[in-house]
Symmetry: C2
Subunit: 350 residues, 2 copies
Amino acid sequence: MFPPDFYAVVLAGGRGTRFWPLSRRTVPKQCLSLDGGPTLLQRTVARTGLPPERILVVTGPDMVEPVRAQIPGIEVLVEPSARNTAPAIAWATWEVARRGGAGCVVLPSDHVILDEPAFRASIAQAAEVARGGALVTLGVRPTRPETGYGWIEPDDGPDGVATESQSLDRPVRRFVEKPPLETAERLLAGGRHLWNAGMFVWTTGALLDAVHAHLPGTAAMLDRLGEGAAIADVWGLSDATSIDYGVMERAAHLRVVPVDFGWSDVGSWPALLEVLPHGEGGVSVADAIVARRADGNIVHAAGKLVALLGVDDLIVVDTPDALLVARRSDAQEVRLLLEEVERRGLGRYA
Amino acid sequence: MFPPDFYAVVLAGGRGTRFWPLSRRTVPKQCLSLDGGPTLLQRTVARTGLPPERILVVTGPDMVEPVRAQIPGIEVLVEPSARNTAPAIAWATWEVARRGGAGCVVLPSDHVILDEPAFRASIAQAAEVARGGALVTLGVRPTRPETGYGWIEPDDGPDGVATESQSLDRPVRRFVEKPPLETAERLLAGGRHLWNAGMFVWTTGALLDAVHAHLPGTAAMLDRLGEGAAIADVWGLSDATSIDYGVMERAAHLRVVPVDFGWSDVGSWPALLEVLPHGEGGVSVADAIVARRADGNIVHAAGKLVALLGVDDLIVVDTPDALLVARRSDAQEVRLLLEEVERRGLGRYA
């Protein structure tokens, strides 16, 4: 369980074009249901198990309406403009401190976590570590040589790999940002590195101290907020950088808690293969699927019968006004397709 | 042009499951728009260029409503039950005679004809031949070794192929029904045989004479109609057989008019490749298509943007409640898929 004096800070500012045509300009990824149930944002909030008054959601001005509509009763902090994650997280942590909270659990709103009890146990463990003064990051055990993530190298001491303590928290030696494939393969094979999933736990004091040490502009913003300034008037003072680069890679006292709770950042359509149960023809969200000689497909067509015949490894996404049929291995190009849609004057579908 | 004393008899009784999910139990193929414009039935009627009072449409009891709704002002003869084409055509020809018509042009309602002026010229030519007393069938120049059609062998006289008279009408020597592939390849290579497209032209007298000669039950039905009986009471007297088997293959005086007017029976989804203009990603009916590395696809998604990415040779058919994605080469199995839909208790989609 979440410790009773911690708050959840849910980051809901992301856009995400890779889930087009389900995601749109006005419907970002975190506001989607990828499995036909509650949306990713709603699940993120529910997964904390916290009462509404101990949750803060941060989002951008373009997305306030869909975000607010999905989580009635939960306070939404609206960034005046997009300045990357560090200003938003610093502001939210400052707001938690102002409310008397001891610490924060920072959570992206557009990820999937399959094992919720394990998730809450990891949060409890991380909060205990955070009470010692460290900035704590959750480290997901890697399952593939992913080049799109940051990797965390734990400091296992002079003896190297400490296999008996793989689930214990450890200091962070360094971060490896988006490594090339050979490096990622080496990190995976080594068995020591973990994925940085963007989930952080800290006391408000530890984070605000680190902000003052490493992000002077952001610290100035927080000082002015403390003097009663409005966020819109001081937001521009903040350092426009990510929490990883601006704080985590510079701070002295970092620890990582290895976690294993069925995490996926569902970065594009093929990731649904990891998070939806395999059924006829592949994985699907639909009213019904009828398939003949079809496998490995990813189908999202809420409310419809979908018939698949002799097709493998496709992405099929149906919405009321747009339909995508793509080869699964080309999923990264959905963004290019969306650019083409806009270039062709079809922005009403974007 | 149609001769001024001939009627068009449009056969609109077919069901057709091969265009599922666009075609449904209640929406047979002839009632579909395959190209986004008027339906096949509407185009068949319009193509004759005749005033409504010189057109008779024949259909079955299950399809009266959609058929009538599409062609207001045109008389629809309703078969009391399905007894194949011969009773329907005999009855309609009898009705034409009763109205004082000299002859009939019998036309299926679910075919596509691209060159309408050529079509009308062929009809005029065939009507002139029919005035000589022959039953005339239109013979489509074959373009592939099709095993699903009937082929017509013209009688080219003792000299064999009469190349200089390929567009002239000739006697019919015999019909070759649905030949095996090797035979079809031989017929195609020989250059003399023509496809039986189910389009017939005759005087009412010639056809009614042939019915009396070869279909005694049907002749009895017509006699009873002449005595004032209701069709429902005498329909069961008719011989339940096709016009090809019951009349054409038995009649003595048959002639074929070779035609070349861009005919297709659009027997399944892949036939749209022949009748729709090739565009981005293949052929399509959609609000817009955006494609990257996609070709040979057949897309029917009226009113939607369809995005194709890295996919070739697919059939993609979207309807408000069902979506089909099939490999083009598997099109013949759409019927099996539809059977599976019904077997699974999903008949509301059938």
